[in-house]
């Protein structure tokens, strides 16, 4: 029971990372019908931008805003920077290629991914870097016999706020309705007077921005960052997206959280070395019985 609750808390924290990254995949997929393979590397870029900010300008920032302010600034700058990178990527690598079809776009996405990964390696070096512990809120609460750290609470609250805001925008506002319409049928939405370019701008800035902010959170949580982490987290988050049902916003959130919890329970009860196998086996089992994910909508076959 003790392990279970402890692993549940850890899993929820990691799951909210996956959920935030998965949202980026899902947003882009919904509109473009394209798996943005570079999204994981955009997330890694967020980690490094946050790192640079916290290392280089930390002294002046801390005196101005305090530790919490400093972290907030780090996260906001990382989000804006990575969001900008996302838009740039869409303009340079996707927009000119998109009319040629889906397969060239996938290769282009893989190309951007390789480029970004190596860009990070060239700029920051191939070695592991570590977030300095002085920026990371220490302390924990001991409830009964399990513990929850201040950082975990901050991460959970923050991710749920971000997810809530995005959910509100997509599901309750007029602009959100336009996004859903464009995701449903792009051409018809265009005929109805929806500005598709605005929506593409939105998904390619907000998705990566969420990824960038998550990057800073992951950096604070694990401290150690490396240029290959984009692949690792990208793959997990992509798995989460599929598990929930791709192109489906609540699906991505739920998929991410379930994946995080499964991973931690797998690590706690089976073995840490086999946890990824456990995750993928569950994913395959889910897809065998629900071929379009947990809450993927039933779509009639187009003839």
């Amino acid at each position: 029971m003790l392990t279970f609750v402890q692993q549940l808390i850890n899993g929820l924290t990691i799951g909210s990372f996956y959920a935030l990254i998965a949202l980026g995949y899902s947003l882009v997929y919904g509109i473009m019908k394209l798996i943005n393979f570079a999204h994981g590397d955009l997330f890694a870029l967020g980690c490094y931008v946050g790192y640079t900010l916290l290392v280089w300008v930390s002294a002046s920032l801390t005196s101005l805003f305090g530790i919490w302010g400093c972290l907030a600034v780090g996260m906001i700058v990382a989000a804006i920077g990575v969001g900008g990178a996302g838009i740039l990527m869409e303009r340079v690598a996707y927009r000119p290629i998109y009319p040629a079809g889906r397969l060239p776009a996938v290769v282009s996405a893989l190309g951007v991914s390789i480029f970004l990964e190596n860009f990070i390696m060239v700029v920051w070096g191939p070695r592991y870097l570590a977030y300095h512990s002085s920026f990371i809120p220490a302390g924990y609460w001991q409830i009964g016999s399990f513990r929850i750290t201040v950082l975990q609470v901050v991460i959970l609250v923050l991710s749920f706020i971000l997810m809530g805001v995005l959910y509100y925008i997509i599901e309750k506002t007029t602009f959100g309705a336009a996004i859903r319409a464009a995701a449903f049928d792009r051409d018809t939405a265009k005929l109805m007077g929806i500005d598709i370019n605005k929506i593409i701008f939105f998904v390619f800035s907000v998705g990566p921005a969420l990824g960038g902010a998550t990057g800073v959170m992951v950096g604070m949580y694990y401290r150690q960052i490396s240029f290959t982490m984009g692949w690792v987290y990208g793959l997990r988050a992509f798995t989460a997206t599929i598990m929930g049902g791709i192109g489906n916003i609540p699906g991505a959130m739920i998929g991410g959280i379930i994946l995080g919890i499964l991973e931690m329970l797998g690590a706690g009860y089976i073995s840490a070395a086999w946890k990824d196998v456990f995750v993928f086996v569950v994913l395959i089992a889910v897809l065998i019985f629900r071929p379009t994910g947990l809450i993927g909508e039933k779509k009639a076959e187009k003839v």
Binding site: V107, L110, N118, F280
Partner: protein
């Protein structure tokens, strides 16, 4: 048609002369070009002919390579005997894992193949039953013996081995392309519902393309294992699967000459641009995007002929 035969003869003669004039290093580079070609051709069956996204192709390659490695080092079975066995093992593995998931569509199938690739890689890393040797892999694999004193040992011998296998595969695949099965595959790729409506057994044919593709990848794994004399899980990562995927799409999906050119581009690019050192992969990413910008259909797209032409 006559022009094709002339080109074919010129290429074949050039390939035969090449190893005797080039340095050992270059012969090895072209050997790996051959391995990549074989892998590209095997993935081309799945991705090019039938249009199924397979981003876990390294798993089939790994099954072939490890079958060879384990059976050779443990039981001492000769490499050439293992050549068909590795292919059959990889094909059987594909049949086993793909049967329950073959009904999935597009991106859902894609993630399941990624998952399968990761499961195989992690399983190899975790050394189940002490068979795979964990992160170190299996080493001490023998060279292929043709019988008596004829041992394939030098770079040139391996070069001929792989290109003979590639040549035979191309011969078989071209015939397959023009067969009833090949046409049914292309029909599934263009419109699955229409294919099913015309009486094509979509499920079995999709499964067949995975089995054949995996078998060919398993054979490539056998040659790779005996050439390197050791196999380790780091040769079979997700990144490798992505590379094979790019070989097919850079060359031209469904096109056999395209796949060869794609394999050449992917295997020779890092060698040619070695002087760029750490910026090499940076340019590689840019080159991939640029390629898709200028030639979205691939370097040598498949020509459509006969009844299927649009």
């Amino acid at each position: 048609m006559k022009k094709n035969i002339v080109i074919f003869i010129i290429v074949a003669v050039a390939l035969c002369i090449f190893p005797f004039v080039a340095s050992t290093y270059l012969v090895d580079v072209v050997f790996f070009f051959g391995i990549y070609t074989l892998l590209g051709l095997s993935l081309n069956i799945i991705l090019g002919e039938v249009g199924l996204f397979d981003l876990g192709h390294a798993a089939f390659y790994a099954v072939g390579a490890y079958t060879t490695a384990i059976l050779n080092t443990r039981l001492g079975i000769p490499i050439f005997v293992l050549l068909p066995i590795s292919g059959i093992a990889a094909a059987a593995f594909a049949w086993l894992v793909c049967s329950p998931i073959i009904h999935l569509r597009g991106d859902y199938l894609c993630i399941v193949t990624i998952g399968m690739g990761e499961i195989v890689r992690i399983a190899l890393l975790n050394d189940p039953g002490g068979l795979t040797g964990g992160p170190n892999g299996v080493f001490g694999i023998e060279r292929p013996i043709l019988g008596g004193p004829l041992v394939i040992e030098s770079s040139i011998a391996f070069y001929f081995l792989i290109w003979i296998i590639v040549g035979l595969s191309i011969f078989a695949l071209v015939r397959l392309q023009n067969s009833r099965i090949g046409r049914a595959w292309n029909c599934i790729r263009e419109d699955e519902v229409a294919a099913e409506a015309t009486g094509i057994d979509v499920r079995s044919l999709k499964l067949l393309c995975f089995i054949l593709g995996a078998g060919l990848a398993g054979i490539a794994g056998n040659v790779y294992a005996s050439k390197m004399m050791c196999v380790s899980p780091e040769s079979f990562t997700f990144m490798d699967s992505c590379m094979y995927f790019c070989i097919v799409l850079l060359g031209g999906s469904g096109s056999i000459p395209g796949t060869i050119i794609g394999a050449g581009a992917i295997s020779l690019f890092p060698e040619i641009f070695r002087s760029l050192a750490k910026y090499r992969m940076l340019f590689f990413g840019v080159a991939m995007v640029a390629m898709m910008y200028f030639r979205p259909g691939g370097l040598w797209p498949r020509k459509r002929g006969g009844l299927g032409s649009k």
